[in-house]
């Protein structure tokens, strides 16, 4: 579904990514890990066109999307839950959700009602402005907003940050359920254990390069995986 090959990118004159490879089959859930500042966010920004790649290519369902504009990539079916939530502060919760709603996967899985069922807290807050939500509520909103576009590929950048354990578990469960329905997903998160339960394979970034990648079984087989790659 998503193929990233040799992507390089950076900000201004400083280069951050030095050739990232990543492949995500349809219905797979990939995990991306790495310490702070290693380039995870930059990678997903490159994929979604916000920080255009200076080399390499990104393909979505076979189509080369490297040079497309961010909105074209969005329309092509990649939805991002950005780091730091970025809810629309002056829109109500409902407006946040319907504002960019779409049916890009063609399956039309997610409707407003369904999303609100999933996050009952948002239903309670439906007419409140985005910026008056609590941190965790904003996070839910950002996830829900991405789901409302019915994306082909869903990317979550630290989407469980600031969520209560119970909700966090709910999110992982949802991701598992989505996977079961065939949703392709890329997750960045620091909760190794929870991620390991649902992910098909993982990629570890160190200083803008892929330091390790493989499936979960392989990961468990690496002795001291966390210590080696995540610096614990």
């Amino acid at each position: 579904m998503l193929q990233v090959e040799g992507v390089e990118a950076g900000y201004g004159s400083s280069k951050v990514l030095f050739g990232i490879d990543l492949e995500l089959g349809k219905g797979q859930l990939g995990a991306m890990m790495g310490r702070n500042g290693m380039g995870k966010t930059t990678t997903v920004r490159a994929i979604s066109g916000l920080t255009p790649a200076s080399a390499g290519s990104v393909r979505l369902a076979g189509r080369d999307i490297t040079a497309l504009k961010p909105y074209q990539i969005g329309q092509a079916g990649i939805a991002l839950v950005p780091e730091g939530r970025q809810v629309f502060p002056t829109l109500t919760v409902r407006e946040n959700l319907v504002c960019t709603a779409s049916n890009r996967s063609g399956l039309g899985l997610w409707t407003l009602d369904l999303v609100l069922d999933h996050f009952p807290r948002l239903r309670e807050r439906a007419d409140q402005l985005g910026n008056s939500l609590s941190g965790g509520e904003q996070q839910m909103l950002a996830i829900a907003r991405a789901l409302m576009t019915n994306p082909k590929v869903l990317i979550l950048d630290e989407a469980t940050e600031g969520l209560a354990p119970l909700i966090r578990k709910g999110i992982w469960k949802t991701l598992g359920a989505l996977k079961a329905q065939g949703q392709t997903t890329l997750v960045i998160d620091k909760n190794l254990d929870e991620m390991a339960n649902v992910a098909d394979h993982a990629t570890v970034l160190v200083k803008g390069r892929v330091a390790w990648s493989g499936d979960m079984a392989a990961m468990r087989a690496v002795p001291d995986f966390a210590e080696t790659y995540l610096g614990v």
Partner: protein
């Protein structure tokens, strides 16, 4: 006295509606796109010139009205694509400078093309004359028509902003441009669209203002400040705010001009009274704005914003 009072109140409301008509486009572009467009007044002027020129050739008010809107739209489209679009991600102040420069350019260009002499434009026969309103006040029909146009524009504006996803996307784009884009919205195209629509509102106001005011170069600039006052007093980013702000300004201004001299005249000698009240009435709108903002720092009908 009471009939005069009613008439003056009506005048105030009518002025308010006229100001709203001129402010409508400004609200859209400024309140929702967050773009400070000083050249709004120039678009207003283009509308009036197009109307007067086309009206002069065709002799038909309606035809001129219908034809002048596309003229303004074209001008706005060019301005957006060539200049404004590149300034979305820049500081507000860059927009100020660029649109200020645009004013110079458009005004001077208009002078070169059409001279410095004001153009003629008359009220169409069907809207000329006066009507007698319930209560016995006789009122120019054209002014009644302006009120109607103001209401229609308010409705259109409200529909665009509150009822369409486009409105939401624009509001979202002003605060989190990257995020809306990533969610698949072509924000550039949307901005062009809104800018053009806003300009058409300005053009419409200009076209309708022609029979009431002098059609001349720079006719929009005086109004521009007044419109910013209306939009800001009402609270930026809401149609209701702009409307109420405009009516407040219209009524305060009119009532000040209408009655303050008489009231002062009871305490002071006439010459002093007319001098002071004239000074006061020139300041009244600004005084109003200061008072409103000191007590309500985000206008009368604030829309919550991110902090």
């Amino acid at each position: 006295m009471s009939q005069l009072f009613l008439e003056q109140l009506l005048n105030g409301v009518q002025l308010g509606m006229f100001l709203f008509l001129v402010s409508a486009g400004l609200t859209l572009v400024f309140g929702f796109m967050n773009i400070i467009n000083l050249a709004h007044g120039s678009l207003f002027m283009i509308g009036a010139y197009a109307m007067a020129l086309i009206g002069g050739v065709t002799g038909s008010f309606l035809l001129a009205l219908v034809l002048s809107l596309p003229v303004v739209a074209c001008a706005a489209w060019v301005i957006e694509v060539v200049i404004i679009r590149r300034l979305h991600e820049r500081d507000h102040l860059d927009q100020v400078l660029a649109t200020f420069a645009l004013i110079l350019f458009i005004n001077e260009g208009t002078t070169m093309l059409f001279g410095r002499v004001p153009l003629f434009m008359d009220v169409p026969a069907s809207l000329s004359g006066t009507v007698t309103l319930p209560g016995g006040v006789t009122y120019p029909l054209y002014r009644v028509a302006i009120i109607g146009a103001g209401l229609a524009v308010a409705l259109a504006l409200w529909l665009i902003i509150a009822r369409t996803r486009v409105g939401m996307q624009i509001r979202a784009g002003t605060t989190n441009r990257e995020t809306v884009e990533q969610l698949g919205v072509n924000i550039d195209r949307l901005n062009t669209l809104i800018f053009v629509v806003g300009a058409m509102f300005a053009g419409l106001a200009g076209a309708l203002a022609g029979p009431l005011t002098s059609v001349e170069v720079g006719m929009g600039e005086n109004l521009l400040i007044l419109c910013f006052v209306c939009v800001v007093i009402g609270g930026i980013g809401s149609v209701r705010g702009a409307m109420l702000g405009a009516i407040t300004v219209g009524v305060v201004d009119t009532m000040g001009r209408a009655f303050v001299p008489d009231i002062l005249g009871r305490f002071l000698d006439p010459a002093t009274a007319s001098g002071i009240s004239a000074g006061l009435s020139s300041m009244s709108i600004y005084l109003l704005m200061v008072v409103v903002l000191v007590f309500r720092p985000t206008g009368l009908f604030p829309v919550a914003r991110s902090v």
